[in-house]
Amino acid sequence: MADAPLLTVAKVRKTFRQKLRWSERKLGDDYKNVFAVDDVSFALERGETLGIIGESGCGKSTTARILVGLVRPDSGSIIFQGKEILGNRASDVAAYRKEVQIVFQDPYEYLNPRMRLKDIICEPLVINGNIQDNRKTAIAEELLDHVGLNPPNEYLNRFTHELSGGQRQRVAIARALALRPKLLIADEPTSMLDVSVRAGILNLLRSLILEHRMSMIFITHDIATAGYMCDRIAVMYKGRIIEIGKRDEVINTPQHPYTKALVQVCDNLQGFISEREHYILDGEVDSFEQGGHCCFAPGCVCRDGECHCQDQGSQELIEVSPEHFVACAHCH
């Protein structure tokens, strides 16, 4: 199966139940549903990097968490190397988890402050039971060297509070690499870092991906960073993928009004400011209700009756050019 994609995600959904405020409750109904990930499907080839961009709360981090098994989706399927992961035997899932590793957003939060770096880095190996105690130092040294913390023996016995944000993120990457995964998920790995340090982490990830022939899902809110890192870009909005395609196509010829606005803001803010009404309605749009209609319609400038109709067709991804899919009733 040389041509089969490494990972196929199909129609994954996750709904969170949010407890309503006392004032908003109706009789017998204390909760409302938040559609965090709604019908998300994509495929990832071997050695490919896919960028997922979107605003906060659009479901990109939930997607990442679903992929590493931290969140259980309500429905859908995830096929990794030809095997279905969801609802499968625990042993299959364990094997899958070895192959998929994640780097989280906030390096100040998720590294255990009581562990030494060498233990942090080797923990995945210990959990999976394929390391002897006397090999720990050697493996940790190799990995530290690999992520650019030189000389590695100086770092082995340090604690995380002795490191800067960029160094912590390198430790996290080293830990993720320990099991030699096939897929790395990077959930906004640079958003907590200073600008001058970001470039280092981005370049490190790029070279590691090439070197280990890994695939990567890179989650970010910055379209320029996604363009720098990824072969393909998926744009999410309110739990749905609204546009997905090759990097250059999404950036140079964006089709969905939301993507257009994102590119314009990043490319030419001055222009966006002066002709804003071409891109987005002014004022605040804050509705999380779910209907059959297009999720972007309340803030969209080119909406019409069709966007609000309850027909599922108005929100399905449609191929506008080869491998470039858009979910907008007006883009085809």
């Binding site: 200073d194 803001v265 990043c266 966006f272």
Partner: protein, 326 residues
């Protein structure tokens, strides 16, 4: 004509390891109706600069020296009570994390009302109410929101309310400290558009403090770049983007990913920012600088006007940059 003139403003934070020099002799002019961006990494003193100008630094922060001239009056010499008359009326601030700047237990209306009432006690109540409606409308919010509590509003809406409050007493200058940080990209753009609109309509001077060079360079007429407590470069946006003089600015520019240059390799700035508590002799950037020479370790470079309106604090800026003479 500069409305705001800052000279030699120096602020330290008292720490266990001695004084941390967070702001080192800041000299800055803000012209009428101008938007000036102040850029730097975290910990470089840009927020401290904002608060020091307003003299609202709290202990352990202490302002050691410096003058802040606002239309002729030196804020640094005023008593607390006199200073309070100037704040809001002449110079207002949009604080960092504006989302948490609103009091959660008061309605929007009463918070703006209070600000106006304190500064203009003679204005009749119904006039203030009418003004609140206009203010909210001018920042793109329906005035019906004034009767809600802050938790009902989204982040962008709270930001708009805070901007409305800053405008409440018609100041001449607004200091916007990371006004759009933490907001979503499109909301950020809308808020920037709003600030730009206000700047032009009210002929306001805005000091925009931010770490986002890409955004600032698109909306500000001039940019100042800070490093480890000092202003290292100041000039018009175009000149800085075309011809950065300070090695730090150059490094900062090449470390940014831009949409045009996604095929270009970005370069990180090696090394770390020096500790602010150390007594520093010479240039603060020298350990990370490619062009360092002997002089850099001996003498601290001063901010000099290298070409018209373009200032730089580097001994070798004339050699490194493409300077236009005359």
């Amino acid at each position: 004509m500069a409305v705001l003139e800052v000279r030699g403003l120096t602020t330290v934070y008292k720490t266990q390891n001695g004084d941390a020099l967070a702001l080192d002799c800041l000299d800055l002019d803000l012209d009428k109706g101008e938007m000036l961006g102040l850029i730097g990494e975290s910990g470089c003193g840009k927020t401290t600069a904002g608060y020091s100008i307003l003299r609202s630094i709290k202990y352990p922060g202490v302002i050691l020296q410096g003058t802040v001239r606002l239309a002729g009056t030196d804020l640094a010499q005023l008593s607390e009570a006199e200073l309070r008359k100037h704040l809001w009326k002449e110079i207002a601030m949009i604080p960092q994390c504006a989302m948490n700047a609103l009091n959660p237990s008061h309605k929007i209306n009463s918070q703006i009302f209070e600000a106006i009432e304190v500064h203009e006690p003679k204005t009749p109540k119904n006039e203030i109410q009418a003004r609140i409606d206009t203010l909210l409308n001018s920042v793109g919010l329906n005035s019906r929101w004034k009767d809600s509590y802050p938790h009902k509003l989204s982040g962008g809406m709270k930001q708009r309310v805070v901007i409305a409050m800053a405008l409440a007493c018609n100041p001449k200058i607004i200091i916007a400290d990371e006004a759009t940080t933490g907001l979503d990209v499109l909301v950020q753009a809308q808020i920037m558009a709003l600030l730009k609109k206000i700047q032009i309509e009210h002929d306001l001077g805005i000091l925009l403090i931010s770490h986002d060079l890409a955004m600032v360079s698109q909306v500000c007429e001039r940019i100042g770049i800070m490093y480890a407590g000092s202003l290292v470069e100041l000039g018009s946006t175009d000149r800085i983007l075309e011809n950065a003089l300070h090695p730090y600015t150059k490094a900062l520019l090449t470390s940014q990913v831009s949409l045009h240059g996604i095929h270009k390799i970005v370069k990180p700035i090696e090394g770390i920012v020096p500790s602010l508590t150390e007594k520093f002799i010479g240039c603060k950037f020298r350990d990370r600088c490619k062009h360092r020479r002997e002089l850099c370790g001996i003498e601290m470079p001063k901010l000099e006007e290298i070409e018209r309106g373009h200032w730089c604090a580097c001994h070798f800026s004339r050699e490194l940059g493409d300077v236009i003479h005359g």
